[in-house]
Symmetry: none
Subunit: 224 residues, 2 copies
């Protein structure tokens, strides 16, 4: 697997490269938009990690130009946390996914994996993490041959966890997103659902675990 990193912040570029190398990717790094375009254009990469703010040519323009030249390599866009407009712009200009800085290594890997696998698949039909899939139409949890139906609440929680791969999601977040911000639901309710979910993850034989971080929240982890 070959990945191109286009990032002018040397420290970050290095960090990202390191993460990828640790996961058996081959990595090339360049530091400005013009170089990024030139390298990516070769089509030799399985994915490109592309910062938005770059010297010489910004990320949007790089993707746009790539697409204009019929290079279909998947692009993962990096953007500053609070640059909301970037999301729209990024996806419009032809990026395949986007991620806000800061991010967890696990998230980077999850997204890259999904990018390099997804090629041509329909976006958003299923959510994936590790060895499990979530069928967003039928609300089924799938792992290999086995699958099991999830109730609506179970499903919502699973979806939120999977939308935050490798990140901690607080009980509060779950309550507010699943029940609404003015609901009277108790924490114990969430705990009950987490318990249900763990049982079902287990049932389908998944290695994915929901780990608890006391006083903080829950996080999905691939069991090695």
């Amino acid at each position: 697997m070959y990945v191109l990193i286009v990032e002018d912040d040397l420290r970050l570029a290095d960090a990202v490269a390191q993460i990828l190398r640790n996961n058996d990717y081959q990595v090339d790094v360049v530091h400005d938009g013009a170089d990024g375009l030139a390298y990516a254009e070769t089509g030799n990469y399985d994915a490109v990690v592309l910062d938005v703010m770059l010297p010489k040519m910004n990320g949007f323009d790089v993707v746009a130009e790539l697409r204009r030249r019929k290079v279909a390599t998947p692009v993962l866009m990096l953007t500053a946390r609070d640059a909301l407009g970037d999301k729209v712009g990024g996806l419009d200009s032809g990026a395949d996914d986007y991620m806000t800085k800061p991010f967890a290594p696990a998230e980077l890997m999850a997204r890259l994996r999904s990018l390099t696998r997804r090629q041509g698949e329909v976006l958003f039909e299923t959510a994936e993490y590790g060895d499990v899939k979530l069928d967003l139409d039928s609300c089924d949890l799938i792992c290999g041959e086995k699958s099991i139906h999830l109730g609506y609440k179970e499903f919502s929680i699973a979806k939120i966890l999977m939308a935050n791969p490798g990140r901690v999601v607080s009980k509060e977040t779950l309550i507010e997103k699943v029940w609404g911000y003015d609901s009277e639901v108790e924490d114990n309710n969430v705990e009950a659902y987490i318990s249900f979910l763990r049982k079902k993850f287990d049932f389908v034989g998944s290695k994915v675990k929901i780990t608890t971080l006391r006083k903080v929240g829950y996080r999905l982890d691939e069991g090695e």
Copy 2:
């Protein structure tokens, strides 16, 4: 930190105010756009949380007018769930970030933090000192390959020490910041935690030491 909340839904306004107060912000609340503009215009706030739908003057107009009058206070816009147009409108009119209702307290805090934080501060959500890192999401203490989970109190203390690299932090400061200014906690409690922490620093094989300054406090030191 001073924050102005402009929100006509009294219940929500209250909820938001409460969240912020719990996080050591000073909060003022007003309930319509005209007041919002008048208060924000003073420039006395570090951030403004601004609803879109407001009596007398809507949120967009408030921001636009603020910016026209050269008030640069960061504005976090609140908007109903899928009013997509709001997003564009909000950012166009000069808001710095926007968030859909409902939202989690944690999300509100994260966004506010990112708005009020100076540019160029830590990219990853970690604190670092010497050879150790502190994952601020998962409360893990990391050194090289090894990592260990910290309890909430341990974590808070570690964070404070690392926020004051090479400086002495008194027990009183620690008690006040970790347990609250009116707590009845004894010094020995802090000592116990310092002991726990030293053990964990040791466990991950860090060279960083917590040195004691008798009658004064504690300080982090990189072991040569």
